[in-house]
Structures are given as C-alpha cells and as structure tokens.
C-alpha cells in the first residue's frame, strides 16, 4: 500500500528528497547545540574564561541561525512536497475515473466515488503532511542524539540503551492492542454517519411516518456503541503519555545518580550532565513521535485503502486492439445471439439471445415494461457495456474493432438520466461538436425543438444553466440534450426515453425533424409511450430480457399481446 501511495510523489521528488536533507541538517544542529552549551559551562564558566564563553556563545548563535534557515527551507519543501502529493492523488484519481466504464462506475456508485475523491483525499493529505515532517525528523533525531551522547560518556549512554527498548516495547504494545479497537471504532463511525445521511435524505419519510423518536432512539444506540469502542481505543492510546514520563523520569534519576558519582570521581563535567538530560528528552520525544505516526497511519489507512481501491480498479473496457482508421460509415447494426449480464460473476443474464439486423437509416422503436432491459440493449451499441456472449456488429465490424472515440463519435446517445453541466447553453451544446458553427447549433436546436424556448430567454444561447441545469424545466432539458447529441452529426442516434417530459405534439415534431434532416442516420427510440414509436419502421417489443416480437405498429397491434396491452392502457379514454 505504501509503495503505491509513494508513486504519487512524482513531479515533487526533488522537494520530497530535499525535505529530509534539510531536516537532517536542522536536527544535527539541534543536537549539537547542547554539546556546545556543555562546553560553556564546563570549560568557560569553570575556568572563568570569558573569551571562551563568548566564542562558544557566538558558535551557538550561528548554529541557531543556520538551523533556522534549514528549518524554514525544510518547512517550505515539506509544504510543496505534501501539497503536491495530494494534488497528484486528486489528479490521478480523477483521471482514473475518466477511464472507468459504466460497469466500473456502477460498481462504486457515484456518491461513493465523490466521497473518495473529496473526504478521503483530504484525510490522507492531512496525515501525509504530519507524517512527512515527523517521519524523517524523529529517526534522525534519535540517531544523532544517541551518537553524541555516546561519545560524551558511553557509560551513561547505557542508561539510554536500556530506556529506549523499554519505551519502544511499551509503545509497541499499546499500538498493537489499540489497532483493532481503532478499526472497530472507524466501522462504528461509518455506521453512525450512514444513519445521519439516511435521515438527511429521507427526512420527509421520517416525518410523514412520525418516526422522529424511533430514529433518535436508533441513533442513540449507534452513538453509544461508538462511545464504548472509542473510549476503549482512546484509553489505550493515552497510556503513551504517562509511560513516556515514567521512562524519562526514571532515566533522569539514574542519570543524576550515576552521573553524580562520576562527576565526584572526576570523570565527568557538570555541563555534560545537563546536556545528557537534554539529549534524553530529545531521544525519548522522537520515540513518542514515531508512535504518533503509527496512530495517524491507522486513521488514514481506511481512507488510503478506499483511494487505492479506485486506482486498482481495472477499467473493463479498452480499445488497445482497435484499428485507428476504422470509422463508422453507414450505421448498420446487427446483434447476433447476443447475451449480456452485468459483471462476470452475476448469475442472471439481463439480455438473452438477442438477434436483430438494423439497416442504415432505419428508425427502430423499442418498447417494454420496467426491467425488460431496453436500456441495457442500446447501451451495448456504443460499448458503454460490453456484451457477454455473441457478436455485435456495426457496419459489419465488431464494436471492439473501433477506437472507442471513433465509435462513440458516430453513435450519439441521449441517456435516460441525462445531465447538463454548469455553464451556458452554448457551452453545453458544444460538447457535441467543439467546432460547431452558430448555424449548426441553430439547426440542431431547431430539429430538437429547442430553438424557440432558448431564444425566449433574455440571454438566449448564452443563458447560464446553473449546476445540473437547474434553470430549465425537465422537458427543456431533454430537448437541449437531444440538440447536444445531434451536433455530433451521428450515423446512429439513440434516444433512451429522452422525451418523457416533452408533450406528444413536440415529441412528434422532433421525430419528424429527425426524419427529414437526418435521413441517413439510423435512429433507435426507446419510449414509454406507444405514440412515440408507432411510426417507426420497426418496433421491438422487449420482455424480461428477450425480444418478444419485432414488427410495425399495425402488425404488432394484430399479433402481439404485450404491445396491444401497452397501447390499450395508454389509449383508454382518449377517444371518449
């Protein structure tokens, strides 16, 4: 996991490497300062040598200034490196999601992807920032202080040698026992947040059924559970502090005792004893910091794992073997024994044994009940999902032979759940074709019956749509989405229930416009309303993932029970 995370430092390697370098410089000076200080006390003051004091003092001041410079540089590089790290994570994650297929997106769900890209990245970034400064500082401090202390007086240094493992083992045990508790705590925390989230989204349901007290009761249960586990974990972690104090104080007393005897015997200087105490606190402090890193890592681990899951997901659709020059010329489609299921491990086929040949320029209607897999069928054509069995040909070539970009440029699809993005109407329409002229845009809008209402806006085509296209009504949004798709000038046009909020007269006008202006384009229309498909050259009736019948409106009205039933359920009363 660490190795994968480290790949995000790309582009900030220099800073990432310079940070420990300057930290090392800073730490070494920090460790040397008490050494110089002991010289002041032991040589300067003891001998009344004012000159020596001044020189040593000047050295100390210089060291502090240099150390300050190092520290500032280290801080700067650490900031650049850690911010760059999170920039890369965001960028790589975002890029990765752009490579996802529909199946990949479905697997994570949109909301989960968003949380991972926002909250989880922030968590990891914060931890990384803390860790980057400490992870080099603490061990270097530990080593440098040990070396100097060892040179001053090896005998006393042995006190450190026995204190360090005691503290290290203590800290290790605390973390070891706290680890599972923390993981447990994070799970409870998630459960609690889920409860809040659900209540936020479903507040109307909660209130309509007068379940406020019931929900509060449930929340309190979950929150109490969290408290229990949290207290358990925290109670272990806070042992760090008294343990550290215990080891430190015992060592100080041992230092004074053994050091005192040594001084009395004439082996050691008083100043050295003071330096030793400083070194002791530096060494033990760095051990504490190391244990602190572990705690941070536990907390960041869950987030890091969720981030890496996104990175590790393999986009299941690629066009590496495609022929770059192959483009869709005519727009014929043929399904040969096609079966499809979502995901390899899924048991149920969503589509079974689909066979149909669609000629270029033909208009095909698809109708069927909820869950009859109408959408799944058409989403296979632009390779939004890959077929599981059989063959799917466009212009006689398997869809896998086309570069995805070439394929999707020729196959325009207006999705059922469609989205406009913040920006002006024009900016949104240009998605279909970046180089579209104003005349082309106008034309597409006219065919999609969007021209009139867009021009009724004071700012016309420059009207700002707001996030998610909130400034236009549902029917207007659908027509803009159709215009956007038309600008691609596609060979195949798929409308997946794209006019459900448009009135039947306009709906008919749009179909009429398509027929007249996009004569050679193959059009596939999925609709709930029979009226939307009845003029199609052929209508496919879908039922439970299978083609139930294919034929014209007249044929189906005569021979197909499902079609008749749908048609009747919608026509009943209209003739009254």
């Amino acid at each position: 996991m660490l190795k994968k995370l480290m790949s995000f430092i790309k582009g900030y390697k220099k800073e990432t490497l310079l940070t420990p370098l300057f930290v090392t410089g800073e730490v070494i000076l920090e460790v040397l300062i008490p050494y110089v200080m002991s010289d002041i006390i032991d040589v300067g003051i003891k001998n009344g040598d004012l000159k020596r004091i001044l020189i040593a003092g000047a050295i100390m001041v210089t060291m502090a200034i240099v150390s300050l410079a190092f520290g500032v540089l280290a801080g700067r590089f650490a900031a650049v490196a850690s911010v760059g790290f999170s920039r890369n994570i965001r960028r790589n994650l975002f890029y990765k999601v752009q490579d996802y297929s529909f199946l990949n997106i479905d697997k994570f769900s949109t909301s989960s992807l968003i949380t991972r890209l926002t909250t989880d990245v922030t968590n990891v970034q914060n931890s990384y920032m803390m860790v980057l400064r400490i992870i080099f500082r603490a061990p270097i401090m530990l080593i440098a202080a040990s070396i100097i202390a060892g040179t001053i007086n090896f005998g006393l240094f042995c006190i450190f040698l026995s204190a360090i493992p005691v503290l290290a083992i203590g800290l290790f045990l605390i973390i070891k026992f706290a680890f599972p508790q923390f993981n447990n705590m994070l799970k409870k925390y998630d459960a609690l947040n889920l409860k809040v989230q659900e209540n936020l989204v479903g507040i109307r349901v909660v209130k309509a059924y007068v379940r406020e007290d019931y929900e509060t009761e449930q929340f309190k249960k979950a929150s109490d559970e969290l408290r229990r586990v949290e207290a358990k974990a925290e109670k272990l972690i806070v042992l760090n502090n008294p343990l550290m104090m215990l080891v430190m104080y015992s060592s100080i007393i041992a230092l004074i005792w053994l050091g005192g005897i040594d001084i009395i015997a004439g082996g050691m200087q008083t100043g050295e004893l003071f330096s030793f105490i400083t070194y002791l606190s530096q060494i033990l402090m760095s051990l504490m910091m190391i244990s602190f890193i572990f705690v941070m890592l536990v907390l960041a681990k869950a987030s890091a794992k969720r981030i890496l899951e996104i990175m590790d997901e393999i986009p299941d659709i690629n066009d590496d073997d495609a022929d770059e020059n192959l483009k869709v010329q005519k727009g014929s489609i043929s399904f040969k024994n096609v079966s499809f299921k979502y995901g390899e491990n899924s048991h149920n086929f969503v589509l079974e044994n689909i066979n149909i040949d669609i000629k270029p320029g033909e208009t095909i209607g698809i109708i069927g009940g909820t869950g009859s897999s109408k959408s799944s069928l058409v989403q296979l054509i632009p390779r939004l999902y890959d077929i599981s069995e059989g063959e799917l040909l466009v212009d006689g070539h398997s869809v896998k032979e086309y570069k995805i970009e070439n394929l999707r440029d020729s196959v325009a699809m207006v999705l059922q759940k469609n989205v406009l993005f913040s920006g002006t109407i024009k900016e949104n329409l240009l998605w279909g074709n970046e180089k579209a002229t104003d005349r082309e845009i106008e034309h597409a809008m006219k065919v999609a019956c969007a021209y009139d209402f867009v021009n009724s806006f004071p700012k016309g085509i420059e009207t700002d749509l707001g996030q998610g296209g909130v400034n236009v009504s549902g029917g207007q949004k659908q027509r803009l989405c159709i215009a956007r798709a038309l600008l691609k000038n596609p060979k195949i046009m798929i409308l997946d229930d794209s006019t459900s909020a448009v009135d039947t007269a306009t709906d008919a006008k749009i179909r009429e416009g398509l027929k007249n202006n996009f004569k050679d384009t193959t059009v596939i229309i999925i609709a709930q309303r029979v009226a939307s498909v009845q003029d199609a050259d052929r209508i496919i009736v879908m039922d439970d993932g299978k083609i139930n019948a294919i034929g014209t409106n007249d044929e189906l009205m005569k021979s197909n029970a499902i079609y008749k039933e749908i048609a009747n359920s919608q026509k009943k009363g209209a003739e009254e």
Binding site: I45, L50, G57, A74, R76, Q197, A208, V210, V238, N241
Partner: protein, 627 residues
C-alpha cells in the same frame, strides 16, 4: 440544491459564548473534571519540582564532593528519593487525568452528537430545504472531529502548558531576575512573529478553503455526470479543466502550509538563540560570582521547558480556532427553532356505539377519533373520517413569493382528488400543507372539521400516509423497510401489504426474500421496485388519508395497470390525494384540479374537463407540454 456552496467560516464569530457553551457540556462531570485538574496539576508540578531540585543536586551534593576520598552520598540519595517521589506522583497524575479525560471527552461528544441528532429530527422541513446535505453532514463529521480533538487533547494540553509556563516563570524569576529579562524579551519577539505570520497564514488558509471548495464542487458535478462525459468522449477536456482548478488549489495550499510549517522552526530556533544568549550572560554572571553553576544549569533546562509549551500553544492556536468555528456550527444547528407544534387535539382509539356515541379505548379497535379538549375543560370526540377542506388558502415559502393563491377545495371521505399541472405549479405544496410540513395561518385547512393547526403534528401525520416520487428506503431488510409504516406490524401484515402493492412477487425472487438487505438507499433495486416497496410501506400503515406524490412515475404503464387493482384496494374507502404526471393515472379521480402558477384554473371530473376543452383537454390530447 438552493445553497450549493456550504458556508464554512474559518474563524469563529462568537468566541466567548462558544467557549462557555463547550465548557457547560464538559462541566456536567464536575467530580471527574476536578480529578482531571488535580491530575494535571500534579504532573505539571512534578516536572517543575524535578527541575528545581536539579540545582541543589549539583551545587550541594555533587559539586562540593568533587575529588573527595570517601564522598558522603546520603544527601544525594535523599534528594533523589524526594525527586523520585515527586516524579512518581506526576506519572500517577498523568495516568489518572488522561484516562478520566477520555471518559469525559467521549461522554461529552456523545451527548453533543445525540443532542444534535435529536434536534435535527425536530427541525422543520424548511431547514432541510435551505441547507445542503453536505453542509449538515459536515457538522457530524468534520466539526465534531475537530471539537473532539480539542476537548480530549487540546484542553489538557492548554491547561498543562499554561500551568507549566506560569510555574516555570515564577521559578525563573526567583532564580535569576536578570536572566528572566532576556527571556521576556524573547517571549515578546515570539508573540510578535506568531501574530504576524498567523494573520498571513489565516489569509492564505481562507484562499485555500475557497479553492478546495471549487475543486470538490467540480468533482461532485462531473463525477455525477460521468456517464454523459463518457458518451461524449469528453474525458480529455474535463481532465484539462480539472487540472486547472486543481493546480490553483495546489498554489494556494502550498502558500498556506509553508507559513504553517516554518512557524515551528522559527520559534524553536528563537528559543535556541535565547538559550545561547542566556548561557553567555549566565556565564559572565557566574564568573563574577552572581550565580552558581548549578543555578545556570537549572536555568538553562528551564529555558527549554519554557519554550516547549509556548510552541505547543502557538501550534494549537489554529486548531483551536477551527474547533471553535466547528462548535459554533454545531450549536447553531442545535439552536435552530424546532418545528412548532401548538396542537392539542390528539388521535385515540375509539369505540363507537350504535347511537354514534364515541368513547376512548386504550386498545386498538380499528376505529379512530380526534380527542378535542376545549377551553372550558370539556372533551369532545370526533370520528376520524378523512374529510379535508381548504378554505381560501394562500401560501408562500418566503413571504414575498406566493406559491399558492386562494386555494379552496374539499375532499370528502373516500374521494380521490387529483392535482395536475406543470412543475412549480404548486401541486406538491398543497400536500405538504395537509401534513403540515409547512404551516399556514389558522383555519385555512380543516380535517374532519378541525382546524389542522390545532391537531398535534405526530397525530395528524399518523392519520396520513405518503408515497413520494423519491422513495427513500433505509439500510435494513426489505421487511424492516415495509415495517417502517407500522412498527408493530406482524409478518403476515407485511406480506399482505406487499401483495397489495404487487411487490410480493419480486420480493420473493430476491436472494433472501423479505430478509434481503438493502444497502445505501436501496441501490440494489430498480427505481420501480423501490416505489413498490414504498407503496407497501404506506399500505401497512393503512391510515384513512393517502397522499400519492408521483408515486407511480417510475413504474411503466403496464406494471401500473397490474398494480392498479392493488392500488384500488389500498385506496378503497380512503381519501386520496394524487399528484401524477401521467394523466392515465388520474383519469378515474372524483375531481381533478388543474393548477397553474399556484391557482386552481380548472376543476371537475375527467369527462367534465374534457368537455370544457380547456387546459386539461390540451394536456390530455398532448397539445401542451407537461414538465
């Protein structure tokens, strides 16, 4: 989606009140808190005492003995024993206060969380309309986290730091007033730098939060529309745009963190400068006999002990502000005006005798009545029938934006009333007034002849069932979700309700049938299936009034025709309000109201309205767009 940019204040606005309030939560455990303060006092005092004892250790018991043949170490031993006991007491104190602090902080956070949630459940719908989920959610996550951090770590550290600073300062003044002057100078320098850099870092910090908001907003919008991006092969363009704002964030963030990062080394090295200068001056003083070696040693150790808490405090400062700002947001939500309920009419189980006299029963009787206490102390009972009347009701979510104008209508028990009209015409608003999600002035709406403002909200809502277009299922089993309509429903009642909604068939085919676990808002079901479960949920509640707000919009006409029977059974004898997009759904209503711009422009039965050849006729024949 009204207020998309969540308001995050980087700085708290009512510092004093907020601190007071946080303490009022912690103050609920006075005994434990006293123990914590004692523990902190002990541990801080022990470290000061230990350092103070260093001087006599060197000057009295080590220094004079240098070179002695048979040094008398008993004095040193006694001193070390004293020192050891002081330290030991300190460790015990630290152990005690940190463990107890965990209890206090977790209990406090649980209390705050519970209060927050309990309050949230009581807030009016309007509050949820004007705040994004992300904004409200962050009070449970970010804001509680920072506050917890402050209470469990920041607070003890603050107390320790202040105690240490004061204690050490006193000890230093006693030891050497001259050296303390140097220290005070350095202290001012430190405060000056912290203030200077702090304000600058605050500025960049706000900029950083701003760009972070932009990046996260972009992520939200484009990941939500990812499938459209794929269909248009727009990945590269989206990537480029993202890079642009992500890089801006990077620049601002680097500035903010650089300042935060260099603050520590600056303060740390100033303390070393202080150390060096103190050593030089102290050395000079020792040579001229104003000070002893032991004293200067202790003093130098104190210099270090003194600078540590100052550095910690300066680092905690930002975290403190952030935590307070978070606490402010939490308290802001807790302080919101809850949903008002001045109702006093309640719903009770009723026994109705042959003569029509109603009496109350404490057991379910299948009949319900409104219990209406009057000012003169008398009680009247009115049978719950489901008669709803609007009398000239006018309403706006905001005073200056009227959504409904002079609505008058009546629905007699057992009638089906439909509302038709384009988005924003006010259909949903009408139903939201019936169950008092929003309140309108007295006497405008009557339920069984009673002014609905007099009916207690929970009782009113219990007499209505609602099925909404956005069906919200909760994580739990299918059974749990249906049971939500009636918590004490038996399994049989649940199966019965599912059959009514025509949901039984597909539920039985789920891997675990009724025990299938639905996760994340029932994502593993299709929209249509979720609506069927929601209808079953309403069916199990079985109240006399039913509100169907686009309840069948995601169900195709064929399936709708299939569940029609069930729906008819469900609606039988009930007053039903239907909002539907699809006119085939509303055709058989007793009365259809056509709404436009908050006014009823046409009303009547389907046949009457068709004959009228007005708006409804246009809608029905598809000449007019409904969206």
């Amino acid at each position: 989606m009204k207020n998309l940019k969540s308001k995050t204040h980087a700085k708290p606005r009512y510092t004093k009140q907020t601190i007071k309030r946080v303490f009022s939560y912690i103050g609920r455990y006075p005994f434990l808190l006293t123990l914590v303060v004692i523990g902190i006092l002990l541990s801080a005092a022990s470290s000061i005492v230990g350092t103070v004892l260093l001087e006599p250790a060197i000057n009295k018991f080590i220094g004079p003995l240098i070179g002695a043949e048979n040094p008398d170490l008993s004095g040193l031993i006694t001193l070390l024993l004293v020192m050891g006991s002081a330290y030991f007491v300190g460790v015990i104190g630290a152990f005690m206060y940190s463990r107890i602090m965990v209890v206090i902080s977790t209990k406090t956070m649980t209390a705050i969380r519970n209060e927050l949630f309990e309050k949230m459940e009581k807030l009016p719908i309007k509050y949820f309309d004007t705040h994004t989920h992300g904004d409200l959610m962050s009070r449970y996550t970010n804001d509680t986290d920072t506050l917890r951090e402050m209470i469990s770590n920041g607070l003890p550290q603050l107390i320790t730091s202040v105690l240490t600073i004061v204690g050490v300062f006193i000890a230093m003044v006693i030891m050497s007033p001259i050296l303390t002057v140097i220290l005070v100078c350095m202290l001012f320098l430190m405060i000056f730098i912290v203030a200077k850099l702090g304000s600058k870092s605050g500025k960049y910090f706000i900029k950083q939060q701003d760009s972070l908001g932009k990046v996260n907003g972009y992520i939200e919008e484009y990941i939500a529309g990812q499938k459209v991006v794929k269909v248009f092969c727009h990945e590269d363009k989206v990537k480029n745009n993202f890079d642009e704002i992500n890089d801006t964030l990077c620049v601002n963030s680097t500035k903010a963190h650089t300042i935060a990062n260099i603050l520590m080394p600056i303060l740390g090295n100033i303390s070393y400068l202080n150390y060096a200068i103190t050593a030089i001056v102290g050395g000079v003083l020792t040579i001229y006999g104003f000070m002893s070696i032991g004293a200067i040693g202790s003093f130098l150790v104190f210099t270090r002990t003194f600078s540590n808490p100052i550095m910690q405090l300066s680092q905690q400062f930002n975290a403190f502000l952030v935590a307070l700002a978070g606490a402010e947001r939490i308290f802001d939500m807790i302080d919101q005006e809850p949903e008002k309920d001045e109702g006093y009419v309640t719903l009770v189980n009723a026994v109705i005798d042959d003569k029509g006299n109603i009496s109350e029963s404490d057991k379910p009787t299948g009949k319900w009545a409104w219990k209406h206490p009057h000012g003169d102390g008398t009680l009247t009972y009115t049978e719950l029938k489901g008669d709803v009347r609007f009398v000239d009701a006018t309403f706006g979510y905001e005073p200056d934006k009227i959504v409904l104008k002079n609505i008058s209508l009546y629905a007699e028990p057992g009638q089906k009333i439909a509302f038709v009209g384009s988005t924003g015409a006010g259909k949903t608003t009408i139903t939201n007034l019936i169950n008092r999600f929003y309140d309108i002035p007295d006497g405008k709406i009557r339920y069984d002849g009673i002014n609905i403002n007099k009916i207690k909200k929970p009782d009113l809502r219990r007499s209505l069932a609602m099925v909404l277009q956005d069906t919200h299922l909760f994580s739990g089993t299918v059974k749990d979700n249906i049971r939500y309509g009636k918590l004490d429903a038996t399994d049989e009642q649940i199966y019965e309700a599912a059959k009514v909604a025509n949901a039984h068939q597909f539920i039985s085919r789920l891997p675990d049938g009724y025990d299938t676990y639905l996760s994340a808002d029932g994502a593993n079901l299709s929209q249509g299936q979720r609506q069927l479960i929601a209808i079953a949920r309403a069916a199990v509640a079985n109240p006399p009034v039913l509100i169907l707000d686009e309840a069948t919009s995601s169900i195709d006409t064929r399936t709708e025709a299939l569940i029609e029977k069930g729906m008819d059974a469900l609606m039988k004898g009930k007053t039903v309000f239907v909002i539907a997009h699809r006119l085939s759904t509303v055709r058989n209503s007793d009365a259809i109201m056509v709404l436009e711009h908050g006014e009823i422009i046409e009303r009547g039965s389907h046949e009457e309205l068709i004959k009228l050849k007005g708006k409804y006729y246009q809608l029905y024949t598809g000449m007019f767009e409904l969206s």
